[in-house]
Amino acid sequence: MLLPGFCLGLVYAAYISRLTRTGMLEVLSQDHIRTAYAKGLAPRTVVMRHALKGGLLPVVSYLGPATAGILTGSLVIERLFFIPGLGLHFVNSASNRDYTLAMGVTILYTVLVYTLNTVVDLAYTLLDPRIDLAEEA
C-alpha cells in the first residue's frame, strides 16, 4: 500500500510545496513582517507566528480540490497496482456498460468535491478573521 500511496500523493505534494513557497514569499514581503522584526522577534518566531498562517491560506484553498482529486484520481493508480478499489470499479462499470453503477460513482465523486470545497471555505473563516461568511455584501 506504501508505493501506490506515495505515487498518488507525489504530484500533490509537489504542487503544495510550490504553493506554500509562493504564499510564504508573498507574506514575508509584507509590511507587517517588518513590524514584527522591528519588535525584536527572532526570524523563526516571525515565520512561525506571523507568516505561516497567511502563507498557508492558498494551500488550504487547494486542499479541497486536492483531496477530492486524490480520491477520484486513484483510478489509474488502482489499475497500475491492481488494487480493487472504487476507481477500478468505475472503469469496469464503464467498460461493462453498467450505467447505474457509473452514474452512482459519478454522483459520489461530485458530492465529494462539493463537500470538500465547502469544508475548505468554512476552514477559511478559522484562519482568516477578515472573512465572515455570515455577512452579506
Binding site: T35, K39, L41, L127, R130
Partner: protein
C-alpha cells in the same frame, strides 16, 4: 552623552543599474527626550536612515558608518544582540497602520508578544500591561480591543495601537516613520498630541520622519533636511524655518500651500524632480533644480558646513550671498 550619535551613515544597494546610494554620509545626534524632524521628498533616504538604525535594511543593502546608541555601537552587531534592543530600547512605528499590523493576529497577541519577549512576562501579566498601555494611548474599552483584529479598528485606532506597541517597553528612542501620513487631519492632530504627551511622560526621544513640514514645525526641536541621501541642512526648528540657509529648504518651505494669498494662484513648487539615486550628478545633487546653482556646484559636492549656532548647511553659494548681503 548623546543618546544617539550617527556618523557618516551610508546605505548602498548594488543593482543592475549601478550602485544606489540610498543614504550617503549622514551625521545625526540626538539627546534624551529630544525630537528630531527628518524631512525630505519621497526617496530622499529618510526611511532608509531609520531602518539602518534598527539594522533592518533589506537583503542586498550594505550599511557603513557608525551608529552609537546609549554608548553602544549598533552597526556590525550580531542579529541576536540587535534583537534585544529592537522593540525594547529602540522602537519603531510605521507609516501605514493598516498594513503594518498583522491582519491574522489579534491586537492583544501582537502587543503581548513584545512584553513576553523583552520583559519575560507571562501571557496574563503581559495582557494586563497591554490593557493599561492601550488605555494610555486613548483607546476606549481596551480590554475588548485586545481580542479584536486590526481590520475591526479604525485608522486612528490602529495607529494608536502601533504607538502603544512601540512604547510598551518604554524605549529611550522612538523612530516614527511618517506616523500620520495615512491618517486624516483631525486624527493626525490627535496622534501628534498623543506622541508629545507620551514624550513628556516617559522622556522618550523621537526621530520623526515626515514630508509634512507642518507636522515638523509643531513637533520637532531640531530639523534635519535630506536630499538624495544626504543632509543638506540642519538646525533648530524655529531658526531653520525662519531663515532657511539651503535653497532646497527654501523651496520646500515655499511649496507649502497657504491660506492667505490670491485664489487661483498656482502653488509654488521646486522645478524638476529628484535625481536618480543610481546616477547622482558629480556635484551638488540639488544643482540641476537649484535657482542659485553655479558652475562650482556642478563640479564638486559641497560638504555640510557649520553656520551659526547649531546650524549647518551644504550650500556655499547661499552662504556667500548671505555674507555679501550683510557686508
Amino acid at each position: 552623552m548623546a543618546l544617539l550619535e550617527v556618523r557618516d551613515l551610508r546605505v548602498t544597494f548594488e543593482t543592475h543599474h549601478g550602485t544606489v546610494r540610498a543614504v550617503d554620509g549622514v551625521d545625526l545626534a540626538l539627546e534624551p527626550g529630544e525630537t528630531l524632524g527628518l524631512v525630505g521628498e519621497s526617496g530622499s533616504g529618510k526611511s532608509m536612515t531609520n531602518l539602518a538604525l534598527l539594522g533592518l535594511i533589506p537583503a542586498p543593502g550594505r550599511v557603513e558608518g557608525s551608529v552609537l546608541f546609549e554608548g553602544e555601537e549598533l552597526l556590525g552587531r550580531s542579529d541576536q544582540d540587535l534583537r534585544r534592543i529592537r522593540g525594547n530600547r529602540l522602537a519603531m512605528i510605521f507609516q501605514d497602520p493598516m498594513t503594518s499590523l498583522n491582519p491574522l493576529l489579534t491586537v492583544g497577541r501582537q502587543l503581548t508578544e513584545v512584553l513576553e519577549l523583552h520583559k519575560g512576562l507571562a501571557r496574563r501579566e503581559a495582557r494586563a500591561r497591554c490593557v493599561q498601555a492601550l488605555g494610555d494611548v486613548g483607546i476606549p474599552s481596551p480590554e475588548e480591543r485586545l481580542d479584536q483584529y486590526p481590520h475591526e479598528l479604525s485608522g486612528g485606532m490602529r495607529q494608536r495601537v502601533m504607538i502603544a506597541m512601540g512604547l510598551l517597553c518604554e524605549p529611550a528612542l522612538l523612530l516614527a516613520d511618517e506616523p500620520t501620513t495615512a491618517l486624516d487631519v483631525t486624527i493626525q492632530a490627535q496622534i501628534l498630541e498623543l506622541m508629545q504627551e507620551v514624550q513628556r511622560r516617559h522622556g522618550t526621544a523621537i526621530v520623526l520622519v515626515t514630508h509634512d513640514l507642518g507636522v515638523v514645525a509643531g513637533m520637532a526641536d531640531r530639523v534635519a533636511v535630506m536630499y538624495a541621501g544626504r543632509l543638506v541642512e540642519k538646525g533648530p526648528t524655529g531658526p531653520l524655518f525662519g531663515t532657511p540657509l539651503h535653497p532646497y529648504t527654501r523651496g520646500l518651505l515655499e511649496s507649502v500651500p497657504r491660506l492667505e494669498g490670491a485664489a487661483g494662484h498656482a502653488l509654488d513648487s521646486i522645478p524638476g524632480s529628484p535625481p536618480d539615486p543610481a546616477a547622482l550628478p558629480p556635484g551638488c545633487a540639488f544643482a540641476p533644480r537649484c535657482p542659485l546653482a553655479e558652475d562650482s556646484c556642478r563640479a564638486e559636492r559641497p560638504p555640510l558646513v557649520d553656520q551659526g549656532p547649531e546650524r549647518a548647511s551644504a550650500c556655499p553659494v547661499a552662504a556667500a550671498r548671505e555674507e555679501g548681503a550683510q557686508a
